[in-house]
Amino acid sequence: MKPLVDIQNLVKYFDLGGNLRVHAVDDISLSINPREIVGLVGESGSGKSTLGKTLLGLHDKTDGRVYYDGQMLPQRYQARDFRAMAPKMQMIFQDPYSSLNPRMTVGEIVGEGLRLRPELSANEVQDRVAYWLKLVGLSPEHRSRYPHEFSGGQRQRIGIARALILQPEFVVCDEPISALDVSVQAQVVNLLGELTEELGLTLLFIAHDLSMVRYISARMAVMYLGGLVEIGTSSEVFFDPKHPYTQTLISSNPEADPIHERNRQSTTIQGEIPSPVNVPAGCRFANRCPQAMPRCSTTTPALKPVPTASKDLQSQQLVACHLYD
């Protein structure tokens, strides 16, 4: 299948001056097929949002390429690039509180993107806004109200309507449920699932709730300190993680099942994610990895298929770790 989004060796550094350089996204390759939901997990600071924003041209690319439907996207977006790509690629942001302009009405917020469609009359714009508000479970009467009059879950719905009104094909959902109560998370996840099905959307779904990511995504990618350390189907990655970091992450995930929790062995790793400023050579997980070997601190492991029993079978699960060399 031809990927819809094809990311090749994408790099995004932030220069802080004085030789300090944040390796936010460092040589990531990932392709996303049409109508696929790929989940992206990893500790905060691992570069998930930066990857999402760089894909959409919200950051200039330091290096590497992104192809959309076969077409290479510019390294640095100009206004016309946003105009061209916004109807195709959109983003839903984490914070339903700060990502909506408090001085705009809900109707203005949701309809804003339609300015890119000057052929629509004012009435048509109104109709579409009403249609989308209904589709995300709000009511057309909410048009004239302001964001502060809504709950977190409702604001997230407003953010979803705003992103989807242009009927994009690809949406980066950056922690769309993290700020919400469990009951509301289920509402938003179900809504995204239904809309994806109905509209044929392709999603990059960033979240730190591993169970939710497994639930919604077909494939799951794991980031650590700017790099992709593992990717595979959600059940491969969740139930049979290969990378020591993924293993730690999955085993840290508390399950809503007391018997399971009582039988859990404590496998917490020590320490915290190091600073992405001027990262050391070798595997970035080496200083916390219980299985680190000498070569781990000198040679960076490449992301490659997990070895399989038979030579003819190539696994779709990829891992970046010397244990599988």
């Binding site: 469990v182 009951s183 917490t268």
Partner: protein
């Protein structure tokens, strides 16, 4: 079961606001047992924080008012008197940790001295004794190089380390009860696991009770002995962790559980998430009858009229729902009437 350390009875708290009176907590009762963890769960706004803030003397009055109820710590009502045997209860008998460590830490003072100060105030330690003990406490909270860290300021600590420092400060006076309000909500899962392990270890070492507020049922399953489910300022169900997860009797508890994905490899066909429609009621005007009735899939006529009475489902398991009334007929799928009846 041993005598409860803390007995909260019929607690009512409200807030006078310009929009009217917010009835934040409406008749909450629960016990806390020494050495055990009680988890309080429920959606935001249902009164979890206000409940524990009342115990900590943290309700701003006005606008707040505790207008009914008692909370007896080893028999003494701590809502009435703030002191037991000449000691401020807060900080010495009960202490609290928060989601944001900077709620309890002072940014302009080194971490060791802040902990030491608690010991000087509550325990009469000398300055040097107190600082030495502060280092021990940081070490107990698994902060590496505690002696060096004690001399550093909060801004020099990472998020996980700040959480540990706050815990060290909270346990300084060996409280009988540690109240933790969403302590790991802002943390990554790996750091969350470290902090939860730390709390369990400290509980084993010191025998303190923990009241843990969280909206994450995974965290509840990992930590809780007893669980109390709150909705609209009231307790709708309480019981052991197993009661709540395997034998829940209240539709709201069931709703919360079904809203979360389960990670069961063996169930091939994925269960779809059942969301709870709508949102919790505003507490200016809580619904009549059962507060959950506008959202409850099993709501009956009586539910909108009369407050359900409490039904005892097991030794420490009880719920407030009309479905458990003798006259209500068979229970819907998944809800359990008597302990052990279903899994």
């Amino acid at each position: 079961m041993s005598e409860p350390l803390l007995q909260v009875e019929n607690l009512h708290v409200d807030f006078q606001t310009y929009g009217g009176v917010v009835q934040a907590v409406r008749g909450v009762s629960f016990d806390v047992i020494a050495g055990q963890t009680l988890a309080i769960v429920g959606e935001s706004g249902c009164g979890k924080s206000v409940t524990v803030q009342s115990l900590m003397g943290l309700i701003p009055m006005p606008p707040g008012r505790i207008h009914q109820g008692s909370a007896r710590l080893r028999g003494q009502d701590i809502l009435v008197s703030k002191m037991i045997a000449g000691q401020d209860i807060r900080g010495s008998q009960i202490s609290m940790i928060f989601q944001d460590p900077m709620t309890s830490l002072n940014p302009t003072m080194n971490v060791g001295s802040q902990i030491a100060e608690t010991l000087e105030v509550h325990r009469g330690y000398s300055k040097s004794e107190a600082f030495a003990r502060a280092i021990e406490l940081l070490d107990m909270s698994k902060i590496p190089e505690a002696a060096k860290r004690a001399k550093q300021y909060p801004f020099e600590f990472s998020g996980g380390m700040l959480q540990r420092a706050m815990i060290a400060m909270a346990i300084a006076c060996e409280p009988a009860i540690l109240v933790a309000d969403e302590p790991t909500t802002a943390l990554d899962v790996t750091i969350q696991a470290q902090i939860l392990d730390l709390l369990s270890d400290l509980q084993k070492e010191t025998g303190m009770a923990i009241i843990l507020i969280t909206h994450d049922l995974g965290v509840v399953a990992r930590m809780a002995d007893e669980v109390m489910v709150m909705y609209a300022g009231q307790v709708v169900e309480k019981g052991s962790a197993d009661d709540i997860f395997y034998r829940s009797g209240h539709p709201y508890t069931q709703g919360l559980r079904q809203a979360m994905p389960t990670n069961n490899k063996s169930t091939e066909a994925e269960r779809t998430l059942e969301s709870i429609d709508g949102s919790p009621p505003d507490l200016f005007n809580p619904p009549r009858g059962c507060a959950y009735h506008p959202r409850c899939p099993y709501s009956m006529q009586v539910c909108a009229k009369q407050v359900p009475s409490a039904s005892k489902l097991g030794p420490s398991h009880q719920t407030q729902c009309w479905l458990h009334h003798d006259m209500a007929g068979p229970l819907p799928d998944g809800l359990v009437s008597v302990d052990g009846a279903a899994r």
